[in-house]
Symmetry: C2
Subunit: 473 residues, 2 copies
């Protein structure tokens, strides 16, 4: 199938081995943004990308400091006069690796196995960032020019709640002026079916801290006279949801836009193999999060509340008879339009205070929020992306409402007001955020052809057409 | 106050500095029985005691292996013909030190501060074991003889649920043949008031393991479709108790012997300063474990259920958006007469299975049980102990129903059927099982005089009188 420019195809073919080596080189840098001890690795990864952008001919490559402390990488190529300007976003930071004991190999020692690149960040999101670098390299190397103006923005704290990003975007909106935005941090549908993401869930991430005595107490000497912080925490968590899964925080569902009949029909038509999905999760039984909604609805158009971590007291081998001094839980909500993370945090904080048992001190910290977002699949840019996917993968993409959250998408929407296309290439079984993360190399290789094809198609569009649907159009 | 033999008093006076040095030497050995990496320290502590027993003139000093893997130390002196034989029990293993960051000094680098010995095990129970060694040494050194026959049994896994003890006791009942038992592993009442413990709570220690997916799942991609093991664990724990603190496990209270009106009156007469006790705990508010019972009743004559530790998922700094693969809790119950730990475990296990949410696998492990025990304060041996305490501390001891559990006491009762006296010298604010454990040196110094006084008094008793109240009498 001849889907992209022949000279680009020849270049990509010729440089396949070097490309995979370069991909591995990037994956070897353990750029975990949530762990302070990896700060030097974050800086090393940022510099690696700056060097690579410069090497392939992207201009003004540099880092910017943000209030979050993890540098943003920026670079541009703006010589396609009269053509649209596209802002490309990916992130180079990765999730922590724990539980490390479940990795079959070292997370930052990537290798190819069964047609996949294995390693932390191979899919989320260094792999996709690397595809953009290599697509631009191929076009510049073979033609000396690009069909569109490109501005690259690569974040270093996406997995750390993008703490410094929004302020930076507001302060640098002029630098980022463009006609449309392409974000590559999503993926295909179950079964590796090409897809375009048309909505993203938002997020509210909180920590509940329950404290009782200043030190652990002997449960024999004090059991029966003091409130146990771990029991109290369990009760607080339990109060947050009904047994059937509905969130009981007052006001939680107030701003949820219910899916329309048409949307529910579309979701029901997706090629979802529940048996396959069940096997992929490995759980004893799938459990829809809310009564009255299908699994896909619960994952895409309904909000959730999950404990992401819980700890307190004695957790070693054997037994220790104490009343723990304190207990903690990380609790996050996936939010849907039009829930507001800050408002949800306040509702949670107030409700926790209300249901907290007496005899302990309870605090709730806001660890970050992200807005949810809906995108119009009928905008010219989105249609071009769909066409490029179909041309390269041989299959029209399905529209998916993602359960994930990409804070930058909502921030771009609010700060820049441009049309956004979520062009992602990972496979749902890639183990993003989990041990043994992978990227299907067929998606990686075909996908970078999709990108060159999309730049060529957008290059034939006027800036005004590319900008259609954005609030600043 | 001349309370003990003058030559013994002179010996104790003359050797005070050396005694404290020896006490510290024993405390320096980190004999933590629940952590396998401290096995060599356990062995070192056992050998230290064997050597010390031999040095002071106790015979047949040796260790015995148990199925639990932590050696028992035994030694005897049996030349007081016609006098009672007393079996003395203490334990030389100690609790783990976590949370280590709350210790003001190194736990195994003991030192004297404000009239207290500071260090792990100073009170529970190496300090009291050391008092027995030094009391026997003083008597043998000054008189060349003891007024009673003594058999010392020092356990190495009391803090590890005494896993191997009961089998060993049954197999070695003949070796332990005696007329009465003195256990030194308890303490004084609040305010450092001399006391004799007349009942001990039993124990059931379990671990609840909840597992869902084999690996952590991305909460964006899967949240809403799978049961969250941490949320499920919180729900299970919450179901175990009512909001007001009653245990909801069916059958839990069936065998509880309610305190009589007389017992409740006696408890209400104890010199309990609730304000002092509250300050000692450091909690925001004291909370009686069950409606309708006083704090002291909830701590002494009513059973409890506490989470001792809880863990699962991401517990690092920052945020990680996962559904944890598994979550765990250590849960223990303090039991009162006539609750049976094994029966309570089965009730708990069955109830957990009943209330476990669907979509997760739940297992409950039995980590150990201990029987509760009541002791008669009117037996000759107990009366002698009370007299020795009054003679040395200048105050008649109060009778306390301890909230703690000493598995060996119930085992002795069942296997040997001898009268038991709980002669303990710690102060309730000694931080047993917590950071910054201490022993009041006045209690230590006066207490070893109490012990010599008790041996002298028991030496004037016939074996039959000492044995009164035991089922084998």
């Amino acid at each position: 199938m001849l889907t992209v420019d022949q000279s680009i195809e020849a270049f990509l073919d010729a440089h396949k081995d070097a490309r995979l080596e370069s991909y591995k080189e990037l994956l070897r840098i353990p750029s975990i943004s949530t762990l302070p001890e990896h700060r030097p690795d974050i800086e090393r990864a940022a510099q690696w990308i700056v060097d690579e952008l410069s090497r392939i001919g992207i201009e003004h490559a540099r880092t910017f400091d943000t209030a979050g402390g993890h540098p943003l990488v920026y670079g541009d190529w703006l010589h396609a006069e009269g053509s649209p300007t596209i802002l490309v976003y990916c992130h180079y930071d990765v999730q922590p690796v724990d539980p490390i004991e479940l990795w079959e190999t070292a997370p930052f020692d990537p290798f190819v196995k069964d047609g996949r690149m294995v390693g932390r960040g191979s899919a989320d999101d260094k792999g996709q960032l690397h595809m953009h670098l290599k697509a631009a390299e191929a076009m510049l190397a073979t033609r000396g020019t690009l069909p569109v103006n490109l501005k690259f923005l690569f974040e270093g704290e996406e997995e750390h709640s993008s703490v410094g990003l929004e302020d930076w975007l507001r302060a640098n909106a002029e630098l980022l002026a463009a006609d449309a935005i392409v974000i590559s941090d999503t993926g295909f549908f179950e079964g590796n079916v090409p897809a375009l993401t048309t909505s993203l869930r938002g997020m509210m991430y909180a920590q509940i801290d329950v404290s009782g005595p200043p030190v652990d107490l002997h449960s024999g000497g004090f059991g029966g006279a003091v409130q146990n912080p771990a029991n109290a925490l369990a009760r607080i968590i339990t109060e947050l949801k009904s047994a059937s899964g509905s969130v009981l925080v007052p006001g939680f569902y107030d701003d949820v836009v219910p899916p329309t009949k048409e949307e529910r029909f579309e979701i029901s038509c997706l090629p979802f193999d529940e048996g396959d999905f069940h096997r992929q999760t490995g759980v004893p039984e799938l459990v829809a999060g809310e009564p009255g909604f299908s699994l896909l609805e619960c994952m895409g158009v309904r909000p959730t509340l999950d404990v992401n971590g819980i700890w307190g007291g004695f957790t070693g081998e054997g037994s220790k008879t104490i009343i723990p001094a304190h207990a903690h839980a990380k609790v996050s909500c996936r939010l849907v339009p039009d829930q507001d993370g800050e408002k949800i945090f306040e509702q949670l904080r107030d409700f926790v205070a209300q249901v907290a048992p007496r005899g302990v001190k309870v605090e709730v910290q806001n660890l970050g929020t992200a807005k949810s977002l809906r995108m119009d699949a009928n905008l010219p840019v989105s249609k071009a992306a769909a066409k490029a996917l179909e041309a390269t993968f041989g299959k029209a993409p399905v529209a998916i409402r993602s359960g994930g959250s990409i804070p930058v998408a909502a921030m771009f929407d609010e700060v820049l007001g441009l049309p956004i296309t979520m062009l992602g290439f990972t496979n749902p079984d890639d183990n993003a955020h989990a041990p043994n993360e992978t990227m299907v190399l067929l998606n990686y290789e075909t996908g970078l052809r999709t990108i060159t094809r999309l730049w060529d198609d957008l290059g034939r569009m006027s800036p005004l057409e590319a900008r259609m649907g954005g609030t600043t159009a």
